[in-house]
């Protein structure tokens, strides 16, 4: 999946999980500072990323390694090169 497609899907996913408008979910948007994500949101983000992209990512992965939306995209793209862990379809 290309980066643009990953970002497009992440925009929808983050807006739904974080209860924010899609237009706020730009690549440079900071998850905590701009989108007001809390620890429960990170747990939900991890589960949603796994569902949509088929990549296992827990709350700690997202919290420790992703500051911005673009960072999640990087994790997804990196996960894709190592292969999906979970066989689920969005």
């Amino acid at each position: 999946m290309e980066r643009d497609e990953v970002l497009r899907r992440l925009r929808e996913l983050c807006a739904r999980v974080l209860s924010v408008p899609e237009e706020a979910v730009v690549p440079r948007a900071r998850l905590v500072a701009d989108l007001e994500a809390d620890s429960l949101d990170f747990a939900e983000l991890g589960a949603a990323v796994q569902e949509v992209f088929g990549i296992a990512m827990d709350e700690d992965d997202v919290m420790e390694r992703a500051v911005t939306v673009a960072d999640i995209a990087d994790l997804v793209l990196a996960g894709q090169t190592t292969g999906p862990v979970a066989e689920v379809s969005g």
Binding site: L18, S19, E36, L40, A43, E44, G46, A47, A48, E51, E59, V88
Partner: protein
């Protein structure tokens, strides 16, 4: 005159809020009842083509915006959202919670918890494993409503949830009153809620033979005590009251809707889904509420029946009422003819209706009663609201599992001070 309970605080209702298919305020609900306008309509909560049940009491256009932030709402099942909105209205109606956080309590009743969230996750299963979101468990838990109410309103005292199927809401109000009586809390938000309109739950209740279906006009489907009844109509809904001591309400000049003078609860200890055929449990439960209130059956002016519209309930309840009060001796109303059966919410919805009967001196009519089942020796109010003398009103709830509750409400009687 009522015998005073030595040492225990007298408990009054100072706030009420509802979310029902028949109205989203107590006033709107009362208007629907007074005009016998059933909320039952064609089932629309999900694609019902080919579905064996064709009717439900659905709350259309419900939106928790203005009560919950988008994030709070996204983290709450519809059942907890309904609970929160009804509780918020009750608290506003009471003029806020007049006690410090540690002296505030909340008691909720729910049969199903977050059933929509649960079913959504399970129906999307892959290889036998559901696909839950991370917040699945705290959204499905039956205490989710109590948790949400306690967090937003700073309720630092007891927050409890009980689950007694169709009696949950009545038990929540009764046990909430017990907290005030026992001095465990000064103000209690108490009520019940459920959002049970899911395909699996409705099919299950249909297979059990409990649901009405197949009427040409869906609005005619809920017919408690009528010879043509076929079962109950499933509803979603919530109702909450604010309870406090009479002393507290008087001291702050609060409006009092009704006094909760008695609380009876017991068990049939008989059958998983059927009431005792002679209504033995129901009779003992009403008697317990009267004994707790210190009043006699002769003083009771009205009974808001459990009145589901299933033959098993209606016959057993009618026998119990006729035995306790005498055949046709007390005016009876079955509000579920208008509201449908909101399961864990029902007892609390009917407690609010009973409180409005106390406050207005009126028994609302039972809708859809065209031919009283001759086996029900009852004076069922029909047509128009009936004037009542001032006096105790009972509200019954009898559940699957044989869990019974009866609340006794009355106008505040100064002479008993």
């Amino acid at each position: 005159m009522r015998a005073a309970r030595v040492g225990a605080a007298r408990v009054v209702i100072t706030g009420m809020g509802v979310r029902t298919a028949a109205g989203d305020t107590p006033g709107a609900l009362w208007a629907a009842l007074a005009e016998s306008r059933p909320a039952a309509g064609p089932l629309r909560s999900f694609d019902a083509a080919g579905f064996p049940v064709d009717v439900a009491c659905e709350i259309t256009g419900f939106d928790p915006a203005g009560y919950l932030t988008p994030k709070q709402a996204a983290r709450a099942d519809r059942s907890a959202q309904l609970a929160f909105c009804a509780a918020a209205d009750a608290i506003e109606d009471a003029g806020g919670l007049a006690a410090e956080p540690g002296r505030r309590a909340v008691v909720t009743g729910s049969a199903h918890g977050g059933l929509l969230t649960l079913e959504h996750a399970l129906l999307r299963q892959v290889d036998g494993v559901g696909r839950p979101r991370a917040l699945y468990t705290p959204m499905v838990m039956t205490n989710a409503g109590a948790a949400l109410i306690s967090m937003v309103y700073g309720i630092g005292g007891p927050s409890l949830t009980l689950s007694t199927a169709c009696a949950s809401g009545g038990h929540a109000v009764g046990e909430g009153a017990q907290l005030v009586r026992a001095g465990s809390a000064d103000v209690v938000v108490a009520g019940g809620h459920d959002a049970p309109l899911t395909p699996t739950n409705m099919v299950a209740m249909y297979r059990l033979g409990a649901l009405a279906t197949g009427f040409a006009d869906p609005a005619r489907s809920s017919r408690p005590f009528d010879a043509g009844r076929k079962g109950f109509v499933m509803a979603e809904g919530a109702a909450f009251v604010v309870l406090e001591s009479l002393e507290s309400a008087r001291a702050r000049g609060a409006r009092i809707h009704a006094e909760l003078i008695g609380y009876g609860r017991n068990s049939d200890a008989y059958h998983l889904t059927a009431p005792h055929p002679a209504g033995a449990g129901a009779l003992a439960c009403m008697a317990a509420a009267l004994a707790d209130a210190g009043v006699t059956a002769r003083e009771v002016v009205h009974v808001n029946a459990h009145g589901t519209g299933t033959e098993l309930n209606d016959l057993a309840e009618a026998r119990a009422v006729a035995e306790l009060f005498g055949p046709g001796e007390v005016p009876v109303t079955a509000s579920k003819s208008v509201t449908g059966h909101a399961i864990g919410g029902a007892g609390a919805i009917e407690a609010v209706i009973a409180a409005m009967s106390v406050a207005s001196g009126l028994a609302p009519p039972t809708a859809n009663l065209t031919e009283l089942d001759p086996r029900c020796e009852l004076d069922v109010v029909t047509g128009a609201p009936r004037k009542l003398p001032a006096g105790p009103v009972l509200s019954n709830s009898f559940a699957f599992g044989g869990h019974n509750v009866c609340l006794a409400l009355a106008p505040v009687e100064d002479a008993a001070l």
